[in-house]
C-alpha cells in the first residue's frame, strides 16, 4: 500500500504538505517532535496514492514517499 514516511526531526511543521495532499490524508501531530514543532503525520494511509506531491512541496525534504511496484504484465 502506498505510504509516506515523515522524518520528524526534519519536519518544521509548516503545514504546506497538508494543503498539497489531494486526498487530505496528512494532518499535523498533536505532540511535539524533538525540535519542538508539531510534525506532519499521515492520518489515513489507506487513502494515500503515493503521488508524491507532499514531497514536492516539502521545503525540508522530510517526506519520503513509497509506492508499490507495478507487476509486469
Amino acid at each position: 500500500m502506498p505510504n509516506i514516511k515523515v522524518d520528524e526531526a526534519r519536519c518544521k511543521g509548516c503545514e504546506l504538505c497538508t494543503a498539497a495532499c489531494v486526498k487530505k490524508c496528512i494532518v499535523m501531530s498533536t505532540t511535539f517532535s524533538v525540535t519542538g514543532y508539531y510534525p506532519a503525520v499521515c492520518c489515513a494511509p489507506e487513502r494515500c496514492t503515493g503521488c508524491g506531491l507532499c514531497a514536492q512541496i516539502c521545503p525540508d525534504l522530510a517526506i519520503t514517499v513509497f509506492k508499490e511496484e507495478k507487476a509486469k504484465a
Partner: protein, 254 residues
C-alpha cells in the same frame, strides 16, 4: 516497496536552517535535482548570495563560493571566464539581485555571460528583518514602509525578467513560482532549461522563482502561498520571457 523520491546527491544530508515554510529549501532541492539529472555536479561551481541563503555552501554538494552583496554575477563571470569548462550558477534573492546587485545583473546579461542565475523573488528582504525590497508590491507592508509601499515616496516594484528581456545578450529568461506542488514541478523544468542553456553555450540565463517568506511577511506559510497566488502573480506574471539562441528574431513572449 518502491521509493518514489529520494534526496538528491547534490544536496548534503543535513538539516537546513531556514524558517518553517521558507521557499529556499524547495529551490535548493530543485537545483540539486537538476545537477544530478544533468550529471554536472562534479564540474559545477555555485555562488552563494548574501541573505538567508548565505549558507547555501553548507547544503549544495558542489564547489561553492560566497560573494559580497549583489556581486554574484560578477564573481560568476570571473569563474566562468577562467574555467569555461565549469558550470557556474549564482543563487540570489531579490534584495541581492534587484537592489544592490542590479548593475552586475544587467551588465552580465548585456555581455551575455554564459552563466545561470537563480533569482528568488519573495518581495521582501529576509535575513535583515523584512525591509522593503525593490520587488515589494505597492501597498505591501514592510518594516521600512509600515503603512504600505507608497509609490510617491518609495516608487514602484521592478520586474526583472521583463527588464532583462529587452537586452540582446539575455538568452533564457523565465518566471516561475513554488506556491503549489504543480508550480514546483514547472519551476524544476525551467531551472533545467536554464542550466541546459549554459551547457549548450548559448549565454546568459536567469530563472526567477516567486517564493515566500512567512516570517517577515508575518503570516503563516499557507497564507504566504495564498499571498503569492492572489497578490504576487498579478504583478509578476509567470512565463517564458525569452528563449533565444542569439538570433534577434527568435524572441518569444507569453
Amino acid at each position: 516497496m518502491l521509493q518514489v523520491n529520494r534526496r538528491p546527491e547534490s544536496l548534503v544530508d543535513v538539516k537546513m536552517h531556514y524558517c518553517p515554510g521558507c521557499g529556499h529549501g524547495i529551490v535548493h532541492r530543485l537545483v540539486a535535482e537538476v545537477m544530478d539529472e544533468l550529471k554536472i555536479r562534479e564540474r559545477t561551481i555555485g555562488v552563494a548570495p548574501v541573505g538567508c541563503a548565505v549558507f547555501a555552501d553548507h547544503y549544495f554538494n558542489c564547489d561553492m563560493i560566497q560573494g559580497p552583496h549583489g556581486r554574484g554575477p560578477a564573481i560568476a563571470t570571473g569563474i566562468k571566464r577562467s574555467k569555461p569548462q565549469c558550470i557556474v550558477f549564482s543563487y540570489q534573492g531579490d534584495g541581492d539581485l534587484a537592489s544592490i546587485g542590479m548593475a552586475e545583473t544587467i551588465h552580465s546579461a548585456g555581455r551575455s555571460e554564459n552563466i545561470t542565475i537563480i533569482f528568488i523573488n519573495n518581495a521582501i528582504y529576509g535575513m535583515t528583518g523584512g525591509q522593503m525590497a525593490p520587488t515589494t508590491l505597492v501597498g505591501q507592508k514592510a518594516t521600512t514602509c509600515p503603512l504600505g509601499r507608497d509609490p510617491k515616496v518609495n516608487g514602484y516594484p521592478i520586474r526583472v525578467c521583463e527588464l532583462l528581456a529587452q537586452l540582446d545578450g539575455s538568452r533564457y529568461l523565465e518566471r516561475t513560482s513554488i506556491h503549489t506542488a504543480a508550480h514546483v514541478i514547472k519551476a524544476k523544468k525551467a531551472i533545467k532549461k536554464a542550466f541546459q542553456c549554459q551547457i549548450d553555450g548559448k549565454g546568459f540565463s536567469l530563472v526567477e522563482v516567486l517564493s515566500t517568506c512567512p516570517t517577515n511577511m508575518g503570516i503563516s506559510p499557507l497564507d504566504a502561498c495564498k499571498f503569492v497566488q492572489e497578490k504576487l502573480l498579478p504583478q509578476y506574471p509567470l512565463g517564458v520571457f525569452k528563449d533565444s539562441d542569439g538570433g534577434m528574431n527568435n524572441v518569444s513572449r507569453n
